[in-house]
Symmetry: C2
Subunit: 483 residues, 2 copies
């Protein structure tokens, strides 16, 4: 039928598969024709029947041939299925939250994700070695047939509770629920505690996908300004009196997009207001793992009284696992669990056993310490580079992934962001993070990517061109007046 | 400090960890006290410093000691965190959908899950070997640092599309979106296409968690009777005229809980009605993989016109992965993707690379064939056993996991289910599957568990006792009349 090359080093099954594909492509094996039987082909080629079985199996799996039981294997009919592009959003949707979520996955070579919301893959690649996966599965009672109870794997919740107690948060496994990451936690909180028409307070700026999610649920968003030491207390108090809010979303530690923290005094006052005005607080701590110190958290101050706390391992350990967690008082947790069941039935046992193994082996802490050191160095380098380029960093924040930098006075940030994208640099403008969509002179920079010289050079050049245009304009105005 | 046993075969790090735990438990190392330095302890015990590091790391990870950088390691303060039970529902919530979802994970030895919604773990344990995980990761570009684009891994969607084309459904990767299983697909469809107040048609009986989800979203459920050859067309047509439905949920193949199929003629008529009355159809195919033949599906008949199709690999391959998929026309898929981003941001790359490897290696088809053979044998055995016990199986259905059996006339199914639970047998009564919560004489049996003699014996005994009570009563009535 065809010759095999036994000296090529290419496995024989691979060669058989490739030859058969060629014959089909050239219609020497036309659609609906029968392939030689396994035994026939094996003896013709002088290989073991198993080798032919492997090749046929792969062709069946690839949809190239059909197995019709005892009748044998047949070349599959070509089917006319028009190819659709992936469901990417159109141009013009740029800076739309969903468009931005997709951009984070853009693999296009050369696109500098200077505003990325995550660490580059290379920083996390060694965090969970492949050998750990097999070990995790071996410890599970039924391997890949294992199921997670809806609340999440009890042993994993034990470990998470220990880690949280280390952060000063008094919690046990019974007060924890696992999720598919931080966004899932936000979704569950919305479903469990908020009705269309309810007023929700959010920090401004804040996480844009959350704003989209809240608006879509028919909630009234009231933005409260974020300051370098916490949420603006005067605005918060005024909003409490005016709007009778149901819930406040707050990121106390390494706030996204600013990198700012919250003073203990600020958080204490927030809790007092929550008690006075009867609202819940959802404390977002998905950036908290990047903080090298022991910052104060609401959940540590109040002991989960009025506070629903959530975080995840997606950002600091493995985005491939999508494992997060929510902590709340038992009565609230029960409502959250019902919503988890309605949204996804349960989380994935594979992911939770892997996460358990990471925490139990003591890998997590070492990994974090290394990460925090590298982040600090990147942060220092980016701060220098951005300042040299002309970006204003009035409050560089406490650490973590982000720097919240303003463009020089007079520069149109919308035009800059569009121009940068044409130059293969993805910048996300401040307005995207603003719940009121107000114009804003800031850009969120990712400290790992923002240290790249290409960004600094680009910004410096643009700002210089802007200055030149302005002074030309000023001179022209002067001349015009003088004439 | 303490002796080590070098002949015990117990690794030295394990011994050191255990000894230190004992010292802490007996308060010989009280809270806040400093542990010997790594170097000190290593030289004292005559072991390598690495061995001590391993033991200390585990104690840190377990929350027993703290590392305070150069200051050394310290016994952690005991904290009083009251232990909470897991968020299980109270007794009295029995047969509530969420309670039932939890019961599926009840590991209590001896509880016979005769109505379980899934295969036992032992049937799936070999489907995805541990070695496959490492191979899957090796093929991913960034291992555990990989991310899925929001629509799902393109290579996996290619494979799923091939498999679906093999089922006659004209689809390509661009028309597919991956999900965290079938329940997640239902959730996304609700969010994308339904508003509070909309009318949704559902098959009756049907999937109880879906009913709960739909009601909670403020939707009006209109139940349409399920018949052995499909949905009741007269009721469907009447409901279309009366209620102007927005969407119909329909499980065409191996309907849960009945195991019934749908004739091609029935499905054709359903599509005609959808066109006439302008509603969408969500076709649930999560049981379809268990069907050994080539049953007709709506998505094959209509080519995704008006049909949103979803299925998953949770039931037939691996619940630990929680990987499912939705197929829809591009315009609808875009809306579904936005909802996926708002609900979980993205699915997990680990799970999707593993699933890709399973499909690419040709494992899936072989596994399914084996499973289908075993299911058929179990189905035959359960049918015999249940009939012998007195259960009525008027329409045993086409195959798959479930048998929909009625108790003998006059038996109170609610009392039976409660009594069975006291006898360590979990039965789910028909009313739970009924969207109108009507009383119903059926029980859903899982064919794998229902063949266990304990179930047949229990039922036979109960039905015999019932018969005896009835005839005693009849005689008493007779005597009473006669006296």
């Amino acid at each position: 039928m065809f010759p095999l090359d036994r000296d090529s080093g290419v496995p024989l099954a691979d060669q058989i598969e490739a030859r058969l594909r060629e014959l089909m492509a050239r219609a020497q094996l036309p659609p609906s024709s029968r392939l030689p039987s396994i035994r026939q082909l094996a003896s013709q080629l002088g290989v073991s029947p198993n080798t032919v079985v492997t090749a046929y199996d792969r062709l069946v799996a690839a949809g190239a041939i059909d197995s019709r039981g005892t009748a044998g294997f047949f070349v599959r009919e070509a089917r006319d299925v028009p190819d659709t592009d992936d469901a990417a959003l159109e141009a013009g949707d740029e800076q739309d939250p969903v468009w931005l979520a997709q951009q984070a996955h853009d693999q296009r070579a050369g696109l500098l994700l200077a505003s990325a919301g995550a660490l580059p893959g290379s920083w996390l690649q060694d965090a969970v070695p492949a050998s750990l996966l097999a070990r995790a599965l071996a410890r599970s009672p039924a391997g890949m047939a294992s199921r997670c109870p809806p609340q999440g794997l009890p042993e994993l919740r034990e470990r998470i509770a220990m880690q949280m107690r280390g952060q000063g948060i008094p919690v046990d496994a019974g007060r924890l629920l696992t999720t598919f990451g931080g966004t899932h936690a936000i979704d569950l909180i919305c479903r469990a505690f908020l009705q269309p028409g309810d007023t929700v307070l959010v920090e401004n700026p804040g996480y844009f996908l959350m704003f989209g999610r809240l608006r879509q649920a028919g909630l009234r968003l009231v933005p409260i300004a974020r300051r370098p030491d916490g949420i603006d207390l005067e605005q918060l108090e005024a909003a409490c009196r005016e709007h009778r809010p149901r819930l406040l979303f707050l990121q106390s530690v390494l706030h996204n997009p600013t990198g700012w923290g919250s003073s203990a005094a600020n958080l204490y006052r927030v809790l007092t207001l929550a008690h006075e005005h009867g609202f819940l607080i959802a404390e977002d701590d998905v950036q908290g793992h990047f903080h090298p110190g022991q910052p104060t958290r609401l959940a540590a101050l109040s002991g989960l009284d009025r506070v629903i706390y959530y975080s995840s391992y997606c950002k600091a350990l493995s985005p491939a696992l999508r494992t997060g967690y929510v902590a709340a008082e038992p009565a609230l947790l029960k409502v959250l669990m019902r919503e988890k069941i309605y949204s996804v039935l349960s989380t994935a046992a594979l992911n939770e056993y892997v996460m358990l193994e990471v925490l139990a082996a003591g890998r997590w802490r070492k990994h974090l310490e290394r990460l925090q050191r590298k982040l600090l160095a990147a942060r220092n380098a980016s701060t220098r580079a951005l300042r040299t380029a002309g970006i204003l960093l009035h409050h560089p924040g406490e650490g973590g992934l982000f720097l919240w930098g303003a463009v020089p006075h007079g520069v149109d940030v919308d035009l800059l962001v569009k121009d940068a994208y044409r130059h293969q640099i993805l910048l996300v403008r401040g307005a995207t993070f603003c719940a009121d969509n107000a114009s804003d002179p800031h850009i969120r920079f990712n400290v790992v990517f923002a240290q790249q010289p290409r960004l600094g050079e680009y910004l410096k050049q643009r700002f210089a061109a802007f200055e030149q245009a302005r002074s030309t304009l000023a001179r022209a105005g002067h001349t015009a007046k003088g004439s």
